[in-house]
């Protein structure tokens, strides 16, 4: 049952990934931590590995539609390394409970942003649902 729920969350993570500009990782982490018995740190690390193929497929699809600025995307990706190193270092240094609470805060921030989008007045920028 837990495995089925984890798979369902992963499916939802992949589906919303391209839809809302919010990646699937935010659902892969809880899928791994809550349903597959990972520690928060393991869940975060393993989520990143799941993100790679998902993002490759998503990028390939978007590229066919001419939406990807490859030069900008690759530049950002390659120059991210110092930030990634700091993030991974901090994640490994923090106690498990701090990681959990930090991730919960992230979920609430993203939820608030989504609620604003769902319930707020449609303005110019958010109307660009014409994807």
């Amino acid at each position: 049952m837990d495995i089925a729920l984890a798979i369902l969350l992963a499916l939802a993570g992949g589906a919303v990934g391209g839809l809302l500009g919010v990646g699937g990782g935010i659902l892969f982490v809880p899928a791994l931590a809550i349903f597959l018995g990972n520690t928060q740190l393991e869940a975060e690390a393993t989520s990143l590995l799941v993100i790679v193929p998902m993002a490759i497929v998503g990028t390939w699809r978007q590229h066919r539609h001419g939406n990807v600025d490859l030069r900008d995307g690759i530049t950002i990706g390659l120059l991210s390394l110092p930030g990634v190193a700091v993030g991974v270092l901090v994640a490994n240094a923090l106690p498990e409970r701090a990681l959990e609470l930090g991730f919960a805060a992230l979920c609430l921030i993203v939820a608030a942003r989504l609620l604003k989008r769902a319930l707020g007045e449609p303005d110019g920028e958010e109307r660009t649902a014409a994807r």
Partner: protein, 119 residues
């Protein structure tokens, strides 16, 4: 401004990278709004962020791997539904209004937060 573009892209990358390594997410949450501020349209910003995420997540996986944090079997279990979900997302988008999807997703994330906060 265009002269500063690479510096701005680097700043976006470093910020998204730190977010990614710390939280196990791609970093799109910080990248997409920043790319929009840089002048990309919402759709282009989302797609370009996804491209950057491929590299960011690969770096972050490798570094977490050095610490022995990556559980390969669990990753393999989730990769298939995650990739299948990408295709599903397109189909869902045709049928369900974006506001409804945002609302459902927000509720799901609040449930996850409660689950994590309550010991």
């Amino acid at each position: 401004m265009p002269g500063n573009r690479t510096i701005r892209l680097a700043a976006i990358g470093i910020l998204a990278g730190a977010f990614s390594g710390l939280f196990g997410v791609g970093g799109g949450i910080v990248m997409v709004p920043l790319l929009i501020m840089l002048g990309l349209g919402e759709r282009r910003a989302t797609a370009t962020s996804l491209c950057a995420i491929v590299i960011i997540a690969a770096f972050a996986t490798a570094l977490h791997g050095l610490y022995g944090n990556v559980r390969l079997g669990d990753a393999a279990l989730l990769i298939v539904p995650a990739v299948a979900g990408v295709g599903l997302g397109g189909a869902i988008q045709q049928r369900i209004p974006e506001r409804t999807i945002s609302l459902l997703f927000a509720l799901l994330l609040m449930a996850v937060a409660v689950e994590l906060i309550v010991p």
